[in-house]
């Protein structure tokens, strides 16, 4: 699960950025004559939903619905007790509890009179979501969106810079530690700097990089860092000797 700082800094990503992204999604709906776009999101597949709404399912999974002419709706497996927090870090004003995602989605379609839906990245929809949707009376079609814009690139650069700077500052401190110990040191540094999530892999040159497993780090090792900062992933790898 995500246990780093999840936030929405509107200096980084002002609401106008999300308005433009939603407008791009709605333009795709108009082009395909679809009334709404469905975006699947879970704890590890959150990039697309995050890009469009800043929503990060720190645990569990959700469906994001972007109507062509109305505000986005979040169908959420998380407790309503965290909705105020979700609203504080996303563009959502409407969140519906959805322990069963597809029935809740189909209910929304009925309410809004939708007989078809666009689905972002349709082939990657989890089977448990795809099957009941594909066999319902709501037609589904794949929608492609270019999720690149200047704000996205700027945030990716920041994440990459953060990963590189911290790893450069900390890299030599691993000498004489086990990879477990060094992993702890890096976790502290990255998470205190605001990392949302972190994957660390170590290699001492005798095998491919892998998660910490108790190996001693001597004068030759490398660290691969995958860092998530405010929804943006960066990967860097550095090694000793430099």
């Amino acid at each position: 699960m995500k246990r780093g700082l999840i936030t929405w800094d509107k200096a980084d990503l002002p609401p106008s950025v999300f308005e433009a992204r939603l407008a791009k999604a709605r333009a795709a709906l108009v082009a395909q004559d679809l009334p709404a776009l469905l975006v699947y999101s879970d704890v590890w597949r959150s990039t697309e939903g995050r890009h469009l709404t800043n929503y990060m399912p720190y645990w569990n999974r959700s469906l994001i619905v972007i109507p062509r002419e109305q505000a986005p709706v979040l169908l959420c497996g998380l407790s309503p007790r965290v909705y105020p927090w979700i609203k504080s870090v996303t563009v959502f004003e409407e969140i519906r509890p959805a322990s069963k995602l597809v029935p809740t989605l189909l209910q929304l379609c009925t309410e809004r009179g939708w007989t078809k839906l666009g689905v972002l990245d349709l082939p990657r929809l989890p089977h448990e979501i795809h099957l009941p949707l594909a066999t319902s009376n709501v037609g589904i079609s794949g929608v492609k969106l270019d999720l690149t814009d200047d704000a996205e690139i700027a945030m990716l650069r920041r994440a990459e810079q953060m990963a590189r700077e911290i790893l450069t500052a900390e890299l030599s401190k691993g000498v004489g530690l086990t990879d477990y110990q060094f992993s702890g040191l890096l976790e502290r540094a990255f998470r205190r700097a605001g990392a949302e999530d972190l994957v660390l892999l170590f290699s001492t040159g005798d095998a491919a990089p892998r998660p910490a497993h108790g190996a001693m780090l001597r004068d030759k090792y490398s660290v691969a860092v995958a860092l998530e900062y405010r929804g943006h992933w960066a990967r860097v790898r550095q090694g000793l000797p430099l």
């Binding site: 477990y180 992993s183 976790e187 998660p211």
Partner: protein, 348 residues
């Protein structure tokens, strides 16, 4: 790396169901079906184990480093890993549809069958969970040591995470909350600074060798109020009621009811429902929130060597959201508490 006990269980299952092959699929979020047979902490997006009736296991990975470390097959175009299909798949529900389509004929879901096999732990698995419990205890000790007024929630999580990783945790499921009666639940950490008098709650769930164990405790920064003490007494009584009851043959519903009845006795029955809480506990293993959940409508009969946590975590108007719970190993006649942390309302 191969769980031989599980291989035998799966072969028996395949024979009973008439399956020629079974796939165990894991992705970056749900590694557990794969790891139930091949206990490798893969770091890429996808991993697949194929078990044939002969007992032969083949592994395929989407990431080259995983493939190299496991001496498995690398398949960057992971749809091809499903070519030839299979009789059944554990993890079918969260497989991407393109993978299901690549199987050809739709396989049967083996997810429920495999989850049932996983519920009763082997001695080796219990050993890993005991190690995780020990780490959870030490992690909570660290939590109490470093928490202080002025510190931000995410900084405390960073410190605890660092401690857990230094001491061998692969992963950690951790929720936190801080404040007073306005706090209705837990979530990831925010930038909020702790204040004197805060109730600081956490579920701490480190993973060791694939297996999770959990501890839930509440820390008061400063002298607890009368209401916080009174609230904790209710939580403690509820958790003890479950711990006293849990043994082979009772149901998950019994364990939930025992906890909820304590809240009802004190006039707080409404706070045992879905508006204020999620579950009264759950199983632990290769996933931190394994089923069956401890809820009054779950009639699953508990068995020896299952590992559960009973936690009556909920909101009460006395104290705000409060948590209290320990990991329990179900024994032949009762249960053993695996956490060693003192059962009390922590103060600092």
């Amino acid at each position: 790396m191969i769980n031989e006990h599980r291989r035998k269980q799966l072969l028996d299952l395949m024979a009973a169901r008439g399956w020629d092959s079974i796939l165990l699929y894991g992705n970056a979020w749900r590694k557990d079906p794969f790891r139930s047979l091949v206990n490798l902490n893969f770091s890429g997006d996808h991993a697949l184990a194929r078990l044939a009736r002969s007992g032969e296991i083949n592994t395929t990975f989407s990431d080259p480093w995983d493939a190299e470390n496991a001496s498995g097959t690398l398949q960057p175009d992971f749809e091809k890993a499903f070519a030839g299909g299979a009789s059944a798949v554990a993890g079918l529900e969260f497989m991407e549809e393109r993978f299901v389509a690549a199987c050809g004929a739709l396989p049967v879901s083996a997810t429920a069958d495999v989850e049932e096999l996983r519920r009763v732990k082997t001695a080796e698995e219990i050993g890993y969970i005991k190690q995780a419990c020990d780490l959870a205890d030490r992690g909570y000790q660290r939590f109490v040591e470093v928490a202080e007024p002025g510190m931000r929630e995410f900084e405390l999580v960073a410190e605890v995470e660092a401690f857990l990783k230094e001491n061998g945790a692969e992963d950690n499921f951790m929720l936190i909350a801080s404040g007073g009666t306005e706090v209705v639940g837990m979530k990831p950490p925010t930038e909020r600074k702790f204040q004197k008098g805060d109730s600081v709650t956490t579920e701490l769930t480190p993973q060791v060798n694939g297996y999770y164990a959990q501890i839930c405790r509440t820390l008061i920064l400063g002298e607890p109020s009368l209401e916080q003490r009174k609230s904790f007494e209710i939580f403690s009584e509820a958790q003890c009621a479950a711990q006293d009851l849990i043994k082979p043959g009772i149901t998950a519903a019994d364990a939930a009811r025992a906890q909820n009845d304590v809240f009802r006795k004190y006039g707080y029955g409404e706070y045992t429902g879905a508006k204020y809480t999620r579950v009264r506990g759950h199983c632990l293993g290769l996933y931190p929130d394994e089923t069956p959940h401890i809820l009054e409508d779950v009639d699953y009969v508990l068995k020896q060597d299952m590992v559960v946590i009973a936690h009556p975590n909920t909101y009460l108007p006395l104290s705000g959201y409060m948590v209290f719970g320990d990991t329990l190993l179900i024994t032949e006649t009762g249960n053993t508490r695996l956490n060693k942390t003192e059962k009390k309302l922590f103060t600092k």
